[in-house]
Symmetry: C2
Subunit: 387 residues, 2 copies
């Protein structure tokens, strides 16, 4: 299996390569599979990749045997039972799509939002251990760690900024030190997140209605989007469902109003940019990623709907500018907008070969999680050999 070569990204060529390399009847080479999971506050993605026990390097592009998408798995947002059910469901579907089953799993790496403390990790490991027998390697990380790995092909160095429904900045120094900022959820001031931006916009509508703040285009835009007839109805709408993702889905309305030069919406986005950049700067400083002179080069992987909006008012681009003002060596790695819905159809096909075709230097975070699992296993195996 180790002679799996690089691929030019041509899907047909890649499929033939897979066919020519004894992938067994499950397409996993008979060696089993690794599951990589990206558990966000909006959705959870699980990918299934083959396990290459004797490889020192992974094939490029990495074959993705199956991919499944489900809802939120952040236990802080939807509660423990729902989060657990979502995880089990998404893994079962990815295995089924790859023609594999639970018994073929060698390792699972779950990058999930809401992991903030060793006790969170332990709890989620416990859930997974109830599903998998003791020989299966299990790794639980904050989703930011998997996202970083997705931009650095599994290497944990540099900084990642996620801004989707939630937001977090996470970094690793070459010597293994790690640091994070934000990621504490909506109650604890993640103002640059999709939820934070949208909640501020809703607040601006209420303030304008009360006579406590300036009038804003956000009122008409948001009421129309939600099919409500008055700002008072926003209150009932807001609390009718505690899901954070539902609020965050209003970000495009805020961006539209800012693009139409609405001052209130513009201020909300400018503040969000500052807040997101500050999270990255705090991590960079604590880890000295920028070197002693402040000009050292380091990657900043940027993922999440807020940063990938591809709009005229480009939040991600503004965040990069703001980071580079202080750290000119910050090297942003941003995925290009990609119709992910199309990916669901590409079962049994190497998804990142498609991404490769588009010359994007990043895989999706679930693949990052799978890469992490493989890296961790290789490291453990090397350590065992030396001990």
């Amino acid at each position: 299996m180790s002679n799996y070569g690089e691929c030019n990204g041509d899907l047909n060529v890649h499929e033939k390569q897979l066919e020519g390399h004894d992938l067994g009847e499950n397409g996993d080479g008979g060696n089993g599979v690794i599951l990589g999971i990206d558990g966000g506050t909006t959705s959870t993605v699980c990918v299934c990749i083959p396990f290459f026990p004797s490889s020192k390097t992974l094939p490029k592009p990495l074959p993705i045997l199956g991919r499944a998408v489900s809802g939120c798995s952040n236990h802080n947002s939807v509660g423990e039972t729902a989060a657990r059910d979502t995880l089990e469901e998404v893994m079962a579907e990815a295995l089924s799509k790859s023609g594999s089953n639970w018994s073929t799993v060698h390792a699972v790496c779950l990058g999930v939002s809401g992991v903030n403390h060793p006790t969170d990790q332990e709890r989620i490991l416990y859930w997974l251990r109830e599903i998998f027998p003791s020989h299966v390697k299990l790794y639980v990380q904050n989703d930011a760690v998997a996202a970083l790995a997705s931009g650095t092909m599994g290497k944990l160095h540099g900084c990642v900024l996620i801004a989707g429904t939630g937001c977090i900045s996470y970094g690793f120094a070459e010597d293994g030190r790690e640091a994070r900022a934000s990621g504490a959820g909506p109650v604890l001031g993640d103002w640059g997140s999709g939820y934070g931006i949208a909640a501020k916009a809703l607040t601006a509508v209420i303030r304008a209605h009360d006579g406590r703040g300036p009038q804003t285009m956000l009122t008409d835009k948001i009421l129309k989007a939600l099919r409500l007839s008055s700002p008072e109805e926003l209150i009932g709408w807001t609390y009718a469902d505690p899901s954070w993702a539902r609020i965050a889905a209003l970000v495009p309305e805020v961006v539209s109003c800012a693009e139409a030069c609405d001052q209130v919406a513009t201020k909300i986005l400018v503040d969000a940019v500052q807040d997101l950049a500050l999270s990255v700067k705090a991590v960079v400083q604590r880890l000295s990623l920028c070197g002693e002179d402040g000009n050292g080069s380091f990657p900043v992987v940027m993922v999440g709907g807020v940063l990938e909006a591809n709009r005229t008012w480009d939040i991600g681009k503004e965040v990069v500018k703001c980071i580079q003002d202080q750290f000119p060596g910050a090297h942003p790695i941003r995925p290009q907008p990609f119709p992910l819905s199309n990916l669901n159809a590409l079962n049994h096909i190497a998804i990142d070969s498609v991404i490769n075709n588009l010359k994007i230097n990043i895989v999706e975070p679930a693949v990052g999680a799978a890469l992490l699992a493989w890296n961790f296993m290789m490291k453990e195996s090397t350590e065992n050999c030396h001990s």
Copy 2:
């Protein structure tokens, strides 16, 4: 019953008066009772007063036959089923303490937080109608309306500011026009509320820990109060329980830090004062309560734990200053700190006679609700006579 005179506040004299006025075996004069309920986000209070069908004025002090306290009844905070159960439980207990039962109830006035739209009112009226037969008069108001009535002995004129777990400002002009500001809950920017103040303090602890904000005494103070050992643990603590009141209970820690001159805590309180004053100012302006020259006199009833803290750093006092800077005719009506727990023991005794003794020009909001019910009934009866 109409010769019920005013009382000098002596409890014994008042009890004798009650005895001397044919209160029937239930102490309700045989005419049944009115229930007044103050449903807040922290607790729900229900009082039971006698129904005086032929009175044009109510006796002073008003006899309170029974009083009960229960948990949160804001459906936006705890959900519909829990809110409904709390209401039924607290009414049953107040009736039981007053020696009455459901069949003696003539009217119920419920002032409850989370009533923001006619549909909220209709829904809660529907709950109550399932308990009470059609001849029982039912009134549902925002808790701010009952709180205003508590400071004006049932007259709906002026402005009220509630700042407890939540906050809201509500006002009535002499001609019946009404207006409100804030009261949209924590997601929609009630930053002057107890929840808002405490959430900002928790955020400040996280920001200091991340390296995104200045160090603050709040870190040690709050971790100690919650018996946690690190700021990371705050995240799990925050989302472990969605109750708003649990977060708001940290306000005294913020006040302590501000009293010790911590700059971060002080800024949080100063911002809260501005926000609360702005809510009142918005209502006053929309209703022109201050008259044409801006100097007209009007009452501002101020209730809720945030305003009644009786601390060196007095949030309520600062709010009054801020309102009076713009509207010198604003006349604050603030209850003095009163050991409400003691009131529970005073069953069958006129509670507001005790309050009267202390020369406090305010009754508790649940009594305000009962007064409102009586006022509404008298108004309807007068209208029926004239029609």
